[in-house]
């Protein structure tokens, strides 16, 4: 019996272990080794931190890196601000069928691929697009306006893409808040803002943090949205990695970039957890 359960346990664990080792651990170790190689001659490599030094010394790389980090944090905050009322409405105000319907509406955009969704935004925002034409038709502007290829367009795309991943954890934590607790707050003299600040947000904190972590990771590692909606001035760090690997065929520098990005995202997740006093178990559990 004991051997039987042990065998079952191993069998159940195998896919996870395979997935972890084949797709995450081994490639990362290999990437790390690649990132430490410096090409000194044809087919000759030496171990050195040269790639990392290149990253630090080249202003464009550093600047794009900082920009990507700041924009991702901003996109996360905007998603939280937009998503919180939506989640609150779905979890607390809507009842029965309306509740499931609204939840479904959040999900609908994800039935089409990210590529199609982003093209949707391009149709709306481009010079000859829907919004530009409508404004001209209404006589509010004279001549077409280009709304694509800037930071605002990237931000719209990122928030739109990440919305669901913020709303879902928020709905589940807000749903677990007993209505009587909110009523008790009013009964004891609390006003709307104070109840939001002292009762609802502290209760929703695990959901807020887990939503933020997921959205931040998705934004930081997003390639498609910044490439399609952002112009030449709106570089995203993932574009740099892509160009090193594919265009320049400089795997060593690309691997170093990948590692820098991994360190950044790990650091920001750690800092967020520390700042909000949450633990990974609480937010992901």
């Amino acid at each position: 019996m004991r051997d039987g359960t042990r065998l079952g346990f191993i069998l159940l664990l195998t896919p996870l272990l395979l997935w972890l080792s084949l797709l995450i651990i081994i490639p990362h170790i290999d990437m790390f080794l690649v990132s430490l190689r410096e090409r000194v001659g044809v087919g000759k490599y030496e171990i050195s931190p040269a790639n990392y030094l290149t990253f630090l010394q080249e202003p464009l790389y550093l600047w794009t890196f900082m920009r990507t980090a700041v924009m991702s944090v901003l996109a996360t905050l905007i998603t939280l601000i937009v998503g919180f009322p939506v989640a609150y409405y779905i979890a607390k105000m809507a009842k029965g069928r309306i509740q499931s319907l609204l939840f479904l509406l959040c999900l609908v955009p994800f039935w089409v691929s990210e590529l199609v969704r982003t093209f949707g935004w391009m149709i709306l925002l481009r010079e000859t697009g829907v919004i530009s034409s409508l404004l001209q038709y209404l006589g509010l502007i004279h001549g077409p306006v280009e709304m694509l290829y800037n930071d605002a367009a990237i931000m719209i795309g990122l928030v739109y893409t990440s919305m669901l991943f913020m709303v879902v954890p928020l709905i589940s934590t807000l749903g677990s808040l007993d209505d009587a607790v909110i009523e008790a707050g009013y009964d004891l003299g609390g006003s709307g803002p104070s109840i939001l600040w002292e009762i609802i947000i502290p209760h929703a904190m695990p959901g807020i943090v887990s939503g933020c972590i997921v959205v931040f990771m998705l934004s930081l590692g997003n390639y498609l949205t910044p490439t399609m909606l952002g112009g030449k001035d709106s570089l995203w760090f993932t574009e740099l990695i892509y160009s090193q690997f594919i265009v320049r065929f400089n795997w060593e520098l690309g691997a170093a970039f990948g590692f820098v990005l991994l360190i950044l995202s790990s650091f920001i997740v750690w800092a967020t957890l520390r700042l909000t006093g949450q633990t990974l178990e609480k937010t992901m559990g």
Binding site: G189, G190, E198
Partner: protein, 366 residues
């Protein structure tokens, strides 16, 4: 003296259904008032209207003589202890109790002092820094009351707060709640479906059914002198028979039940005439049980039967006796004075009760 709380013709409709219909009552200062009724009778709706979470369809609510209909729940001088207490799990005990004071804008020093005082009063001076989920059921109960009482409300509303506790603790909390009420000298309005909670603690009880008050009075009034068949059936246990009145002579009635039993009873001043159909209620504990017929001859009703069932439940034990004449079954309280310890199924016994104890109501009055 102006009553602390007064409701005048309070009515609440949800669409086509009337949850509360023309309810009027007033609660004098410092008293313990209970609304007792089965679930779905509208008692929670009344409570939520007083607290301000629901607006009445018509009628008025006055607190200390002033209408509060236009006052938002967070400004009303009433506070509520919720069914599941609704303590704030994200705060410790002291912050829970201090919440209302912080919202009222009191200086920090006063808040600390008042929280300390109220913790002292509920007998838990050391728990201020504890988290809510570290408390026992009884402690949570007391903290929930303290959280309201620290604001010195005119009226404290309690919505079945003992429902989630186990039996022993509930018995203890009943006594404790009554003592806390006397200690704080605040008007308590308590709603419950548990009659023993209402009977033990209340100065006044209103029995509610289908959105209306059936009867209002002290616990003894409700038990000894129920005014409606619903109250007679809901407060305490009763044997209940339907039948037709054969003879009506002053206060004394004779009723022939559907199974042919003849019972002498009283209508307590209600108009009931011969030939009318009526319901008669006799409490199991009002019936005398005896082995000898001679002991019961002085009673208005007496009959002979045999024990069909013994329902042993400590002090609330019952015997089911089948009448020889009509084969009707009657529930009788089992006296715990020792003489019936050896009573067994099939034993022949005599039972009897006075006409005063048999309460008669016109049929269909419910």
């Amino acid at each position: 003296m102006t009553p602390d709380l007064q409701c005048i013709d309070l009515t609440k409709r949800f669409g086509d259904t009337t949850a509360v219909s023309d309810v009027s009552f007033s609660v004098p200062p410092g008293s313990f008032f209970s609304i007792l009724g089965p679930s779905g009778c509208g008692k929670t709706t009344i409570m939520r209207m007083i607290a301000g979470f629901l607006a009445p369809t018509s009628g008025d609510i006055l607190i200390k003589g002033k209408s509060v209909l236009d006052v938002a729940p967070n400004r009303r001088p009433v506070n509520m202890v919720f069914q599941h207490l609704a303590l704030f799990p994200m705060m410790n005990v002291a912050d829970n109790i201090g919440y209302g004071l912080r919202r009222a804008g009191l200086p920090k020093r006063d808040i600390t002092r008042k929280v300390g005082e109220v913790l002292e009063r509920i007998g838990l001076p050391e728990i201020g820094r504890r988290r809510v989920d570290e408390l026992s059921g009884g402690q949570k109960q007391r903290v929930a009351i303290a959280r309201c009482m620290v604001l010195e409300p005119d009226v404290l509303l309690l919505d079945e707060p003992l429902g989630a506790l186990d039996l022993k603790l509930r018995e203890r909390m009943k006594i404790e709640l009554k003592a806390l009420q006397a200690d704080f000298d605040t008007t308590f309005v308590y709603i419950t479906h548990d009659q023993s909670e209402a009977l033990v603690m209340s100065d006044q009880i209103a029995v509610m059914n289908q959105g209306r008050f059936e009867q209002m009075g002290t616990a003894r009034d409700l038990y000894y002198r129920p005014e409606t068949p619903f109250v007679a059936g809901f407060v305490g246990d009763s044997n209940r028979w339907s039948g037709r009145i054969e003879r009506s002579d002053g206060g004394v009635l004779e009723l022939r039940t559907e199974i042919g039993l003849l019972i002498r009873g009283t209508a307590q001043g209600r108009a009931l005439g011969g030939g009318q159909s009526a319901d008669i209620f006799v409490r199991p504990e009002a019936i005398r049980l005896s082995r000898k017929e001679t002991e019961l001859t002085s009673l208005d009703n007496h009959l002979k039967g045999h024990v069909t069932s013994l329902l042993f439940n400590a002090a609330a034990s019952r015997v089911l006796v089948r009448d020889e004449g009509s084969a009707g079954e009657i529930e009788v309280a089992l006296p715990q004075s020792g003489e019936f310890d050896d009573l067994a199924k099939g034993d022949v016994v005599h039972i009897g009760w006075s006409g005063e104890q048999a309460n008669c109501f016109a049929a269909g009055a419910e």
